[in-house]
């Protein structure tokens, strides 16, 4: 608790300071950008869609969609604390320098974290997937996060200080987003794995698409922009406006479906409907028929 509150204080106080410190850093990463910036597409630049409007304040890239999403780097002032937390929680697998351990047969085992971008680090920690419960499992499960929001920011800040990289941590402005547009984009880009009702389902070889029913807006945006695990990464093909639309659809209609027709049957679709129809419908009526008719 004490760590959390003191961090929050420091964050508030260091708000302006961090902007100033960040300026040269962002200048560095945006160097070479032209009116039609061509980023070398690699880890360092994930989440920098060239097609949407890039907004800079004092040279710092703050948005790729004119206010739809604000990207903020965690304060470098947290880096020292972040390093301590990293060594405690992450270094066993990812190495003291966060440059990972070569995969030993398992897909994506102990990857290099340098250059992954604060959003990636934040997503994995805040969704409770890291530190991993079972580092050898095929896919990390979402669970109660072991580290707080501020601790996650601190670790992200330290890793970012090793090699500044995108994407920063998004803050989604869902107020102005278009939920209908989001529904259409969700059907085109997300439903193939997460199902149209957002419940997730099993994929190849023990992997699975997780349910989207209780994911905060920031993590939805982070997942779209960084492509965690087996999820493809959506960068230049979705503008920030579109991501905000999807986030709005997920956090409203998917997470709070109106279900005007009664209980939603868990979103399992025809499977659940078949069970209800056969067990309650046919089975219940057969039981009533058992009363109506004679037993002899």
């Amino acid at each position: 608790m004490s760590v959390g509150t003191s961090l929050r204080l420091r964050l508030c106080a260091g708000g302006l300071v961090s902007l100033v410190i960040l300026a040269p850093l962002a200048w560095f990463s945006a160097a070479g950008a032209t009116t039609h910036p061509i980023y070398q597409t690699g880890r360092h630049d994930a989440g920098t869609p060239n097609s949407s409007v890039v907004v800079r304040k004092h040279g710092v890239v703050t948005s790729y969609g004119d206010g739809a999403i604000m990207y903020n780097a965690p304060s470098p002032a947290l880096a020292a604390l972040g390093r301590a937390l990293y060594l405690q929680n992450c270094a066993t697998c990812h190495g003291v320098d966060a440059n990972g351990v070569p995969p030993a047969g398992t897909t994506g085992a102990y990857p290099n974290l340098v250059g992954l971008g604060p959003a990636t680090i934040d997503f994995w920690i805040e969704s409770g997937r890291m530190p991993a419960a079972d580092p050898r499992s095929v896919q990390a499960m979402r669970r109660q996060p072991r580290l707080t929001h501020d601790q996650a920011l601190a670790i992200a800040a330290w890793i970012n200080s090793l090699a500044p990289s995108y994407p920063y941590i998004p803050t989604v402005n869902v107020k102005d987003a278009n939920v209908a547009n989001g529904a259409a984009l969700f059907a085109l880009n997300c439903a193939a794995c997460h199902t149209i009702e957002g419940d997730g389902d099993a994929l190849a070889r023990s992997t699975f698409a997780p349910s989207l029913r209780n994911i905060p807006a920031t993590q939805v945006a982070e997942a779209i922009r960084t492509g965690p695990g087996n999820m493809p990464r959506f960068t230049g093909n979705l503008s920030d406006f579109q991501v905000a639309d999807i986030v709005k659809y997920v956090t409203t209609e998917i997470q709070h479906p109106r279900n005007p027709g009664g209980f939603g049957l868990g979103g399992l679709g025809p499977v659940a409907e078949g069970f209800v129809g056969l067990l309650i419908g046919v089975g219940g009526l057969a039981l009533i028929g058992f009363w109506v008719g004679e037993r002899q």
Partner: protein, 512 residues
């Protein structure tokens, strides 16, 4: 006239003993001659064993389907024209979609009781086909399909087939993301038919998939052609039932040449009308509390979009399961392709299953050489071979049904999808061979044990001097005598085994 005082009594005397009803009946009889036949119709005896109610569930859910279907057809627009939705459901606002989808969303949200009627229609369809299957199983396992009722069995199998087809057609009409995927699969299945497949597909869909012809065509098939045929067949089913009189289970006073039960009027009428209200009521309650097919969440169909976990309605499940587990055996040669990975599970296999159902009465007659008239039903245990054969088919079909939700199973139990798929392949293949001997053994054991399946029988187990245990069943009541337990005489049948002991002597020796 004016000096005669009219009283209730005088009016009654003037109209005869049975009042206005009698008068109307008299007038009717003068013209149609209904009195004699009508009287014997009202006296008609209906056996009322509970298992005979299963067919009634099907009948009354068909009635619910017709009624709710008429309501829906008043608001549904069968058109593939593209419109832009501006309605009360905001997540679809401004999306372009076919008019059929837009009108389905509108009838769900903008028409009073529209959503209830749509959900009732869908639930009634699920219950209709489910109760048909259960009813068919009852008829099969009790041997009710035997002479003279083979024709009614054939009508029943046809009704089941048509109901499944019509269910699929109706499921397709909203043109939502999930059903559109179903149509896409149906198109590819038609395409897979050797030689004529492409022509068939192009004629049915009016060109390449998706085209604009399919929704209007499916609509007219769904609301007129198929239900029209079904209504005619249901009527024929009922007429045959009345003409041939219902079968009955053997029991006290019941013989091959009589019917024991309740008279049509008023007892059976009250029960069956009440049951109709119950079926309608349960359907409405399901429609009220269990949301089915929320197409507004699925969104409009677009051939490039797809949702995971798309399953057909349950009655198509066995087909989807077969398609999932069938290996990728495709035939390419001589400049032609036969997609066996589709043709076998989706065309040949259902053809064989329904062909077997049609042919079963003939097959059994040939095997048993039994050409006698049967009005008394078998208990499933008294025909172990038939029961085992039915159980084997049901087991395989259930496994295929389960195989249609491999992804849901894998997700639910957190096992690998690949493992689940392989397990289902194995299970589908071995399940009939497991189910057959188990069902056969259970049936023949029950058959061998006197009084099996009867409640409240007491067995006295005693030990002989040689150390052998002998179970003797004792009558529970003084008047509970053995004669009504003995299977009624039936001709030599599908049996291979004879019970170890004559069933009437009430003693079964357990061999050691």
């Amino acid at each position: 006239m004016s000096d005669v005082v009219e009283t209730k009594r005088s009016r009654k005397q003037a109209t005869g003993r049975y009042g206005a009803v009698g008068k109307v009946m008299g007038e009717l009889d003068d013209r149609l001659g209904v009195a004699k036949g009508g009287r014997s119709f009202l006296d008609k005896i209906f056996p009322d064993h509970w298992s005979f109610m299963l067919g009634e569930i099907a009948l009354y859910s068909f009635v619910v389907l017709l009624a709710t279907g008429v309501f829906l057809s008043l608001y549904y627009i069968p058109s593939s024209a593209i419109v832009t939705y501006h309605g009360s459901y905001l997540p679809l606002d401004g999306q372009s979609m076919t008019e059929s989808f837009a009108s389905t969303v509108n009838l769900s949200f903008a028409v009073r009781a529209g959503l209830l009627m749509r959900q009732m229609h869908h639930w009634a369809a699920d219950i209709f086909i489910g109760s048909m299957v259960v009813h068919m199983a009852r008829v099969f396992f009790t041997g009710a399909f035997r002479k003279p009722r083979e024709l009614n069995w054939t009508i029943g199998v046809t009704l089941l087939t048509l109901a499944i087809v019509n269910g699929f057609l109706g499921y397709s009409l909203p043109d939502d993301l999930v059903s559109g995927t179903g149509i896409r699969i149906a198109y590819s299945i038609i395409l897979s038919v050797p030689v004529v497949g492409t022509y068939l597909a192009f004629f049915i869909f009016g060109g390449n998939f998706p085209g604009t012809a399919v929704i209007p065509r499916f609509f007219i098939l769904h609301v007129l052609v198929v239900p029209g045929i079904m209504l005619a067949l249901v009527t024929a089913h009922m007429i045959l039932l009345v003409r041939q009189k219902h079968t009955q289970f053997p029991g006290e006073g019941k013989t091959e040449s009589n019917v024991v039960g309740s008279p049509l009027f008023p007892v059976f009428m009250a029960k069956t009308t009440g049951f109709m209200l119950i079926v309608t009521g349960v359907t409405a309650l399901l429609g009220a509390f269990a949301q089915i097919n929320p197409i507004w969440q699925f969104g409009p169909y677009d051939a490039a979009r797809i949702s995971y976990a798309v399953q057909p309605d349950w009655y198509m499940g066995f087909l989807d399961g077969a398609l999932r587990i069938f290996p990728s055996w495709s035939f390419h040669s001589f400049g032609h392709t036969i997609p066996f990975e589709v043709t076998i599970p989706a065309v040949i296999f259902p053809g064989l299953v329904f062909g077997l159902a049609y042919a079963w009465p003939a097959i059994e007659r040939r095997v048993t050489k039994d050409n006698a008239i049967h009005n008394l039903l078998d208990r499933p245990s008294s025909r172990p071979k038939r029961t085992a054969a039915g159980a084997a088919v049901l087991a395989a079909m259930s496994m295929l049904f389960i195989a249609s939700s491999t992804d849901v199973i894998a997700n639910f139990f957190h096992v690998s999808l690949n493992t689940v798929l392989w397990s289902m392949r194995v299970l589908v293949l071995i399940s009939p061979f497991v189910a057959y001997p188990i069902a056969y053994k259970i049936a023949s054991e029950m058959n061998a044990t006197r009084g099996a399946g009867r409640r409240k029988t007491v067995n006295v187990v005693s030990r002989t001097e040689e150390g052998e245990y002998v179970a003797t069943s004792a009558p529970a009541y003084a008047d509970d005598v053995a004669h009504d337990l003995a299977p009624t005489p039936v001709p030599d049948f599908i049996e291979a085994t004879t019970p170890e002991q004559p069933p009437s002597d009430g003693v079964r020796t357990i061999e050691r």
